[in-house]
């Protein structure tokens, strides 16, 4: 770890995560572990067809089964059949089909919800599904995006008259500028569909709370606060009567940044039946009913001068929405829109995105959300341009990237990158990688015609995260703010509560937030409890996604902690009988400057504030402070990732031989957590490059919707990553932090594919489809060699 700025006692130290003992031992409150007396279990009848009319549905057979309490189709559910909301209408004329919790007369994708049954145990509920009677009249499925938007295509939603959700445009100067270019290359990249596949399947419990009007929902979500608001809005449950708790959540990757129809159903049915209702998905359900990610066709064109200077970029994107719009489905590709130019300077940029409906599972945020797709496209095409120009790919990048002395820099996409140092991160990465040595080995393998060829893949990425300020999000038509809240309380015993509006699902906020508060309050990390993810205990918050928690929420913790110290200083001065300015605050104790014997520890101040027997005039009892922070701008982590890829040209099998990444995530609160996030992210990006890809056949049937055929790599498939960091503190927030949650997943995918292409370019290959399975790579080589 290098260049960590140590801003206080606990800040910047790689301390072990305090939540890990309970998480790793399973001694915790996963939603499915919650057992309330009188619970009924919900099971869902799902469509086996991608597109069909429901010609007959009779749930009464289920009612006759043992232990069944109730069963509903859309007709029986009536007014309680609320629709799933979409909160990102990206254009004024965006087409938004109705998305009822239970399909009304037509099913639109395999896994679409048709009916539910509730029984006193989960086994009876599963059995009763088989007693329902349903008939479908199959309709033609729309699967391929390009045919979906061709004239005469079958419509996913007949009543909408089109399969185009929206068309979004940015820029406009490219066609004029391109005339100045010496070289123009065009490519089509496919960012395949991915399934989030978090470890803990979704689970929801909703219960009416005794004699009160309150309904409490426990749900495995990333967004308890937003969920409460939206569930209240769509179900009519008064928001003040709804309490949402996200207990420990086992991963999300964006897949739990959602309001799911199952959550709506459980809330409505708990209210209707007056008893707790529980639903936990099976993995088979998860693979078709949790939203998917990516799935874009990218037609990209880049123009340059013969010396490599970039002239402009043009992107024509088709983004698969799936069958319905989930909360931010249409906005995901537009998050990528800003990032196509990457770290490079150019004079023109045109972007168009067409959102397309198909009879497939809806897409939405998945680790990186739009930014991995754009980063993939720009970093891939930079390599292709280098090959076209006969330039070393790093040299081409160096020639065009924003120099460190040019920050802040406003890109052609309109973002202002506040800080960064691409030279520094790259120099460090090249050194750790032994770039020259590997290039030499690559040459000798080529010369000897070795069966195993070596390639080097480069990705010099940046991304935008910590979506803020709220005003900017408003301009993007995103129906939520970008602020975050924190309350810090010192209890009468001196213990501290940090109450945050962020909602961790594996990231280690309890430790990192304690470190921030500890560094300001001088209280040991162990004495700080981070309270989160419970709308009954935490103030309003904006939850956790888009690498925002530290870059936004962390600032609120810092600010609230500082405000608390100032309040405590006034009380301590009153106790010591001096003026507040005479006090210094050292390791949790206020002491008179030059006379440290005269002192008051924070705990004593807190007790005084609690009894309020002797507070100075105008000071309110209790020792707490709050802050709501809306940062000035996004933050822009960046880094240089290098992959050495071996390709067995005889079988097509590829191996990641070496992976080096140097990331700049600004100031680090806990370098160990940063490293963990980088490792997980890099692995997930490699998974897209080499392993994962959700496929449908032409009837819209999923081809690999299970974990035996949808391959997720594990530790034995990956090399030991060599990681390091540089630090250019962000200037958009007072801690100087940037986000790290998505960086690895954004950076690694193009590094891997660039490495594969580099290994076999001399065989005539200039692209490989993802995932680069052995067969895909072998067939690509065969085709380039003039075989079939």
């Amino acid at each position: 770890m290098t260049d960590v700025v140590d801003a206080g006692t606990a800040l910047g130290r790689p301390i072990k995560r305090k939540e890990d003992a309970r998480l790793l031992h399973g001694q915790t409150n996963w939603t499915d572990n919650i057992q309330l007396p009188g619970t009924v279990h919900m099971a869902i009848l799902r469509s086996p067809l991608a597109h069909a009319k429901i010609t007959h549905l009779d749930v009464s057979g289920a009612l006759a089964m043992p232990n069944v309490v109730a069963a509903f189709g859309a007709a029986e559910l009536g007014e309680l059949n609320s629709s799933v909301p979409c909160v990102w209408p990206v254009t004024d004329d965006m087409v938004a089909p109705d998305f009822p919790a239970l399909a009304k007369d037509t099913v639109h994708h395999v896994g679409d919800c048709v009916a539910v049954v509730l029984a006193t145990d989960a086994v009876s509920a599963a059995d009763a599904l088989e007693a329902m009677s349903v008939d479908y009249e199959p309709l033609q499925a729309v699967v391929n995006m390009e045919s979906a938007i061709s004239p005469g295509s079958t419509l996913v939603h007949e009543d909408k008259g089109t399969n185009t959700c929206y068309v979004y445009n940015l820029g406009g100067g490219y066609d004029e500028k391109v005339k100045e270019a010496d070289v123009v290359i065009k490519r089509r990249f496919i960012n395949q569909r991915l399934i989030p596949a978090f470890m803990e399947p979704r689970s929801v419990v909703a219960a009416p709370m005794g004699m009160s009007d309150e309904i409490t929902m426990w749900t495995s979500t990333q967004i308890p606060h937003i969920l409460r608001l939206l569930i209240a809005l769509v179900t009519g449950i008064p928001e003040n009567n709804l309490r949402v708790i996200a207990p420990d959540v086992g991963g999300g990757f964006g897949g739990k940044l959602q309001i799911y129809r199952e959550e709506i159903l459980v809330a409505q049915l708990a209210r209707k039946l007056g008893r707790p209702v529980k639903w936990t998905e099976t993995r088979s359900e998860d693979m078709v009913a949790t939203h998917h990610g990516r799935d874009q066709i990218q037609d990209i064109e880049i123009a340059a001068k013969s010396d490599g200077t970039l002239v402009g970029l043009k992107v024509d994107l088709k983004a698969n929405m799936g069958a319905y719009l989930q909360i931010i489905t249409p906005g995901i590709p537009l998050l990528g829109m800003f990032m196509y130019p990457g770290i490079y300077k150019m004079d023109a940029y045109d972007f168009q995105c067409t959102g397309v409906f198909t009879n497939t599972t809806p897409t939405d945020a998945y680790r990186g959300a739009g930014r991995p797709e754009s980063t993939y496209a720009i970093e891939r095409i930079m390599d292709e341009l280098a090959a076209e120009l006969g330039m070393e790919p790093m040299e081409l990048r160096r020639k065009n990237w924003i120099k460190h002395e040019e920050f802040p820099y406003t890109t052609i996409a309109g973002l202002t990158y506040d800080t960064g140092n691409y030279e520094l991160a790259t120099a460090r990465a090249l050194e750790l990688f032994d770039y020259e040595g590997l290039r030499a080995e690559q040459k000798s393998r080529r010369d000897s015609g070795d069966r195993v060829q070596l390639g080097i893949g480069i990705s010099t990425f940046t991304e935008m995260c910590g979506l803020a300020p709220s005003r900017t999000l408003g301009a993007l038509k995103y129906v939520a703010g970008g602020w975050e809240h924190c309350t810090v309380r010192v209890l009468p015993t001196g213990k501290v509560e940090v109450i945050t509006g962020t909602s961790p699902h594996g990231q280690g906020h309890e430790t990192a937030w304690s470190q921030i508060a500890s560094s300001i309050l001088g209280v040991p990390v162990e004495d700080i409890e981070v309270v989160h993810s419970d709308t009954g205990r935490a103030p309003y918050g904006m939850d956790t996604y888009g690498s925002r928690s530290l870059a936004v929420g962390g600032q609120a913790i810092k600010e609230a902690s500082e405000r608390l110290v100032e309040k405590a200083r006034v009380i301590a001065a009153h106790q010591i009988e001096c003026s507040p300015e005479d006090l210094e605050y050292v390791d949790g104790v206020f002491q008179v400057k030059g006379d440290p014997e005269k002192s008051q520890p924070l705990g004593a101040v807190a007790f005084e504030a609690f009894t309020a027997h002797n507070l100075p005039d105008g000071v309110e009892p209790t020792l707490s402070a709050e802050a709501t922070i809306d940062p000035q701008d996004f933050s822009y982590p960046h880094g240089t990732h290098l992959a050495a890829m071996e390709v067995d040209t005889e079988t097509g099998k590829v191996t990641v031989r070496k992976y080096v990444c140097v990331d700049d995530v600004g100031v680090q609160v806990n370098p160990m957590i940063v490293e963990g996030q980088v490792h997980g992210g890099v692995a997930q990006g490699i998974a897209q490059a080499l392993y994962e890809g959700a496929n449908y056949d032409e009837d819209g049937q999923p081809q690999n919707a299970n974990l035996s055929t949808y391959l997720i790599p594990s530790a034995p498939d990956l090399p030991s990553f060599i990681t390091d960091t540089t630090c250019t503190p962000s200037t958009t927030n007072p801690l100087g932090t940037k986000g790290v949650g998505e960086a690895g997943a954004i950076a690694s995918t193009p590094a891997i594919i660039n490495g594969i292409v580099d290994a076999i370019r001399h065989l005539g290959v200039n692209d490989v489809l993802m995932p680069a399975t052995p067969m895909t790579v072998w067939k690509t080589i065969q085709a380039a060699q003039g075989g079939k």
């Binding site: 086994v123 690999n704 055929t709 790599p713 034995p716 067969m775 072998w778 079939k788």
Partner: protein, 284 residues
């Protein structure tokens, strides 16, 4: 992922298990380690009314060195098989193939007999049993019978074991002094084979004197590459091994799936056979 309700009976002897099978009739199902059966039940692809657990039957467990052959009880776990000294020295290819199955947790529960009786076309041990001419002892109401490997595997998930029978043990002729290797080709460390090639080779004076080769996942049942075995006799160089391995795709009619279409599977069969034989023979 919730199975249909079933009765559960834990058998204490082969006799006991046979009686339970007879009583349960068509709807009874034997369970060894449960590593293939339980997923099938959870996906509701099969709904037996009674599951007869034979994981605690002493007669089905253990590995015996019986002079010319090694006899392995059907209920012996993968973990026990791959770590057994006699298996490691006399049946290296079996130890290798077994070590490549799934992950340690599964290998501590899954059994050799279960894997062979399940006869998944992708499984790693069936091609070893076929190539090594293993003999299967099967118990039924009328006593025990012996079936040769060539007759045992009858189709995908179909073997010579009848619904009211139990696989008791598998006898492998010892291959002392032979080289062995299992070449597993898959996409991720814990994934099923796209193709696997089991090879056992006896060398004499630097040349291949005898070879046994079995392939998995190139059809509904494991495949014995007899033509390659014959062509390999006398081979001493990698070029000769590769030339002989070209016959590996003879008489194959593999299926296509997401991992491999027909062309690619035939290609892999040839390439991986050569690699497996070369490693077994120590030829590079």
């Amino acid at each position: 992922m919730i199975p249909v309700a079933f009765d559960y009976k834990k058998a204490s002897s082969v006799e006991d298990a046979l009686a339970a099978l007879a009583e349960g009739g068509e709807d009874a199902k034997l369970m060894g380690g449960g590593q293939s059966l339980v997923p099938v039940l959870r996906l509701r692809l099969n709904a037996p009314s009674v599951v007869v657990d034979c994981s605690s039957i002493p007669e089905l467990k253990g590995i015996k060195d019986e002079g010319g052959k090694i006899v392995i009880g059907a209920g012996t776990t993968h973990h026990a098989v791959m770590n057994d000294p006699a298996v490691k020295s006399s049946l290296k290819v079996l130890a290798d193939a077994t070590a490549s199955v799934a992950d340690p947790q599964i290998r501590h529960r899954g059994t050799l007999g279960g894997a062979l009786a399940h006869s998944d076309p992708r499984a790693d041990q069936p091609p070893v049993a076929l190539a090594l001419d293993a003999e299967f002892t099967i118990a039924g109401a009328t006593g025990q019978r012996c079936v040769a490997a060539a007759d045992f595997f009858q189709g995908p998930f179909e073997t010579a074991v009848g619904p009211d029978e139990i696989l008791v043990s598998i006898a492998f002729p010892k291959l002392d002094g032979w080289g062995g290797h299992y070449e597993k080709f898959n996409r991720a460390a814990q994934a099923w084979s796209i193709i696997g090639v089991a090879a056992a080779v006896r060398m004499e004076g630097g040349k291949i004197a005898e070879a046994r080769i079995g392939l998995t996942n190139v059809g509904g049942t494991p495949h014995r590459a007899s033509a390659v075995e014959q062509a390999l006799v006398g081979a001493s160089s990698i070029a000769e091994v590769e030339a002989a391995s070209m016959y590996a795709s003879d008489n194959l009619s593999p299926f296509a799936d997401e991992d491999a279409d027909v062309d690619y599977r035939l290609h892999l069969a040839r390439v991986l056979t050569a690699r497996s034989v070369a490693k077994a023979a120590g030829i590079s």
